[in-house]
């Protein structure tokens, strides 16, 4: 390991931003169609980014092997995105444009994303919609037969395309079907229920992976000429989140430990409108769509610990705190700002419900104004879902909501080609840090995962294969690095199986989650972060001393959990470190010790207009913090104000 702080170059193309991607694509080498079948790409993860790139590369003629830890690619977590996907088609003629989508995304991320990559994202977005329609995605339509749009997440134009409340599901199924088409043709070899446990690097290049078969427990070697990581985000570091159980970050952490840099891991979006925690048994929290804030009003009683039935509290004894604090955006203030305001109301003692850790989202006024039928039409499904879980009707009693972890903007570091610092290792979708800076806008996550999968990775990975075609050494699974990798993994499993302590993986995971949410969550301070680092180190020590692992080495959910929690703990530690070192507030990273006179986030462009990229230095050594400077030529960073 070098031990030296580096300035990283993300190879953003020079020259005008509008033509940057075109010029860059032209500079990439091509592979002769007849030679493509001689190159093999391993794709880990089969959501929009992974499944899309696997299908796309197979269509081009490359050999592809795709891996998922689930029993089918159709279950990947892209499926759960509800609201929609953005694209600046400007169909409603409301003055939207690629430039505006680019600007909104960059500004929404509080100028901590990459300018040129973000522009490319906004450019590709239109093609996503075309592609999805061609794949048979049944987007919601107008009576005239054209595609419908809505405004989403506090944006002032209607650029969100949607398929009822299941946009992610429909986009994913489109990608899944394309993938299965290629599997059927023998172009993609599909591996289900297989988990990446180790990345194999030969002479500085990613050349393979070691996986564990989750049914038989067997360890397997897989080799290729490039590896794509598209395993999604890592909100499970918080234990409770809106994410699926598999969104654990273990794959990225395993790559990080093999030398891939982790960028801005502290940037986590805490979504304001999830159902509150109902008991210690809870395994996940359910998201209530942001769309509800279009008509619902958020409030708490003015009196502390007011236990009255909310319907009996008169209007002048209610504090509509978002409307009061952010008069121009009101209940539609961005996610990070809303989450913070809710937490402050609860911390101030004004929280509601049995636990006091919730606020009201009230539709009484909307129902009076628009009528029961209209509200039912708009939100009927969501109201039913709420009733189903909480056993109360939002038509009669205000919903109770509270923020929870939802999306990780940070992830493995990549350059403009989505290539990590390790040659031949590519990262797409939520697994990388690329576009969303310090905060992601609603309906932008499907946009980025789909863009990476369909339009960026197939081009840049092919470029890499072209560039290295003549020179890449021949490597297969007989290479000694694979044997070493197998031993390392076997050693890890044996170590965990042999601890024979008293606490289950979930117990450690919950302990980690609590520290993360309390200290590395919505509001952060130097003191809380230092405490978090100490606590997580302790959890880690106890994990290795007291883990109890039931079951055997075959199909065993406990073993899977233990192996993941081991990495999730290290990732949590890194998130806390990153949050501590970023001595500014930006987007979702809100440091209470860096605020302006109104208590709003105070960005520090002079010292922190950069991406932090962390390099692993061994288990007992502090990681190194490298820097990628962010340069803005097209837009001057401004202060995000939503007052």
């Amino acid at each position: 390991m070098s031990g030296e702080i580096k300035k990283l170059d993300s190879k953003q193309p020079d020259g005008p931003i509008e033509t940057a991607w075109d010029r860059h694509r032209f500079s990439l080498k091509l592979v002769n169609p007849a030679n493509r079948r001689k190159r093999k790409v391993l794709v880990v993860g089969t959501g929009l980014a992974g499944g899309g790139s696997a299908a796309g590369l197979a269509e081009l003629g490359y050999q592809v092997e795709a891996f998922t830890i689930l029993d089918s690619p159709r279950r990947s977590h892209s499926i759960a995105a509800q609201g929609g996907v953005n694209a600046a088609k400007n169909y409603p003629n409301d003055n939207d444009s690629i430039w505006r989508l680019f600007y909104d995304t960059l500004k929404g991320g509080d100028f901590r994303g990459n300018e040129k990559s973000t522009y490319r994202l906004a450019q590709c977005a239109n093609s996503i919609i075309d592609q999805a329609v061609a794949q048979g995605v049944p987007f919601t339509r107008e009576y005239a037969g054209t595609l419908a749009n809505r405004s989403f997440g506090g944006v002032q134009v209607s650029r969100t395309f949607y398929a009822r409340g299941q946009t992610g599901q429909q986009l994913l199924l489109g990608v899944y079907q394309s993938l299965m088409k290629e599997v059927g043709k023998g172009k993609v070899k599909l591996h289900t229920r297989k988990e990446l446990l180790e990345l194999i690097i030969v002479n500085g290049r990613a050349r393979g992976i070691i996986t564990r078969d989750l049914v038989t427990g067997e360890l397997e070697k897989h080799y290729g000429d490039a590896v794509i990581i598209a395993t999604g985000g890592f909100c499970k570091t918080y234990y409770l989140s809106t994410n699926a159980m598999a969104s654990n970050g273990a794959a990225q952490t395993r790559c990080w430990k093999k030398g891939a840099y982790m960028a801005n891991p502290c940037m986590t979006q805490i979504h304001p409108t999830s159902l509150p925690v109902m008991g210690a048994y809870m395994a996940k929290q359910t998201l209530m769509s942001e769309a509800l804030r279009n008509d619902g009003r958020i409030w708490v009683p003015k009196k502390k610990e007011d236990k009255r039935d909310p319907n009996t509290i008169p209007d002048d004894e209610r504090d509509y705190f978002l409307e009061r604090r952010y008069p121009s955006f009101g209940n539609l203030a961005p996610r990070d700002i809303t989450s913070r305001a809710i937490k402050q109301a609860v911390d101030g003692g004004n929280g509601v419900g049995p636990t006091g850790v919730a606020v009201y989202l009230d539709f009484k006024d909307a129902i009076e104004r628009d009528g029961y039928d209209k509200i039912k039409d708009k939100y009927g499904n969501l109201f039913d879902m709420y009733k189903h879980i909480v056993n109360e009707s939002p038509y009669e009693t205000p919903m109770r909501i509270y923020p929870t972890a939802h999306f990780t903007m940070g992830g493995l570091w990549v350059d403009y080609n989505l290539q990590s610092n390790i040659k031949g290792l590519f990262v797409g979708g939520e697994s990388s840090y690329e576009y969303h800076g310090a905060n992601r806008l609603g309906a932008n996550s499907l946009m980025s995962a789909m863009t990476d999968g369909a339009f960026v990775l197939p081009v840049t990975v092919a470029g890499y294969l072209g560039e290295t075609f003549a020179t890449l050494e021949k490597v297969d699974d007989t290479h000694e690095e694979f044997d070493i990798g197998m031993k390392v993994v076997q050693g890890r499993i044996e170590r965990l199986m042999n601890i024979k302590g008293t606490r289950t993986p979930d117990q450690f995971h919950r302990a980690l989650g609590k520290v993360m949410f309390d200290n590395v969550g919505i509001e952060r301070t130097e003191k809380k972060l230092i405490e978090a680092i100490e606590s997580i180190k302790n959890i880690k020590k106890e994990f290795y001393a007291d883990l109890m692992l039931a079951g055997d080495e075959k199909m065993n959910n406990e073993l899977e959990k233990a192996l993941r929690v081991e990495d999730t703990i290290d990732l949590g530690l890194l998130m806390a470190r990153d949050a501590l070192e970023r001595r500014e507030s930006c987007g979702a990273h809100y440091r209470m010790d860096f605020v302006d006179e109104d208590g709003e986030a105070q960005r520090d462009d002079e010292n922190f207009q950069h991406v932090a990229a962390w390099e692993y230095q061994g288990d007992d050594t502090e990681p190194l913090r490298h820097i990628e400077e962010l340069v803005f030529n097209s837009i001057q960073p401004s202060k995000r104000s939503y007052k």
């Binding site: 269509e59 689930l70 029993d71 089918s72 690619p73 159709r74 279950r75 977590h77 499926i79 759960a80 093609s127 075309d130 592609q131 329609v133 061609a134 048979g136 049944p138 919601t140 339509r141 009576y143 005239a144 037969g145 054209t146 595609l147 398929a163 009822r164 599901q169 429909q170 079907q177 394309s178 088409k181 599997v183 059927g184 289900t192 049914v215 699926a244 159980m245 598999a246 109902m278 008991g279 048994y281 395994a283 998201l287 049995p354 189903h388 879980i389 909480v390 056993n391 369909a454 008293t502 979930d506 117990q507 109890m548 039931a550 079951g551 075959k554 199909m555 065993n556 959910n557 406990e558």
Partner: protein, 253 residues
């Protein structure tokens, strides 16, 4: 919050696909009505793990009814007693203190048990692989609004596209038929102009694959429709049958 319950579970335990399985009895205490069914199983598993016993294997991921991973037969009903719910969305308030609950894996020849409650549903992927797609490549798709699709048609396509591929339809069917699953996909795609072109080939090869994989025939029992967590209607099966008959009767032109 609701009172806590004690429940008596009979759970199917099976070591692997080759072993013979059987029921085991478990008592779970302190079950809150607000818990989801899977959270109740999590709690049981945590207790088992602490006693050093092999926890019960079951599939799950999103825990909000969209990924289609969870799959339990609960008292003989696919996904349990709730209407239009998945196992993960089922709440324990549907049960009473002292209830006995029988929990089994999906039972269908084409879904072999891997362990306990987890089954292999790759047969559904194979049906999709046989033609459940539109043969279009990444790249130059036509401008999205160049093709109009009436709202009613798009909505009906969406009703069918809502399938989560959980397997409840085949599990609920006495013939273990995959007709509802297959029909949902053929209906979605052949309704849309972009999918219509290949509809003949699609319906033939998907049905052929379904038969090959060992799924049974449809004898109009309608249990699939009742079990479907997404409320997909058997009208789609009738539609697929009509489409299929059409491919047998007349030539293309």
């Amino acid at each position: 919050m609701s009172d806590e319950m004690t429940l008596y579970l009979q759970v199917w335990r099976q070591k692997d696909s080759k072993s013979k399985g059987g029921f085991q009895n478990y008592k779970v205490e302190n079950v809150s009505g607000d818990m989801s069914f899977l959270e109740m199983l999590d709690m049981l598993n945590e207790n088992l793990a602490r006693e050093g016993k092999d926890p019960i294997q079951y599939d799950h991921d999103c825990r909000e009814g969209i990924c289609g991973a969870c799959s339990c037969m609960i008292n003989g009903e696919a996904h349990g007693p709730g209407k239009k719910t998945t196992t993960c969305e089922m709440h324990m308030r549907h049960f009473n203190d002292g209830d006995a609950i029988i929990i089994e894996p999906w039972r269908a020849k084409a879904f072999p048990v891997l362990k306990d409650l987890a089954v292999d549903r790759s047969a559904y992927d194979k049906i999709i692989m046989a033609g459940g797609f539109i043969e279009v490549k990444y790249g130059n798709a036509p401008e999205a609004n160049s093709m109009m699709v009436g709202k009613e048609v798009a909505d009906f396509a969406m009703d069918n596209a809502a399938c989560i591929g959980c397997g409840a339809c085949a599990a609920a069917c006495p013939n273990a038929s995959a007709m509802l699953f297959t029909a949902a996909k053929t209906t979605q795609l052949s309704l849309l102009p972009q999918g219509k072109v290949e509809s003949k080939k699609r319906v033939q090869s998907m049905i052929k694959k379904m038969d090959e994989l060992g799924f049974g025939n449809c004898t109009n029992e309608r249990l699939c429709e009742a079990a479907c967590p997404k409320g997909i209607s058997i009208i789609s099966i009738a539609r697929m049958n009509r489409e299929y008959m059409g491919t047998l009767l007349k030539s293309d032109y």
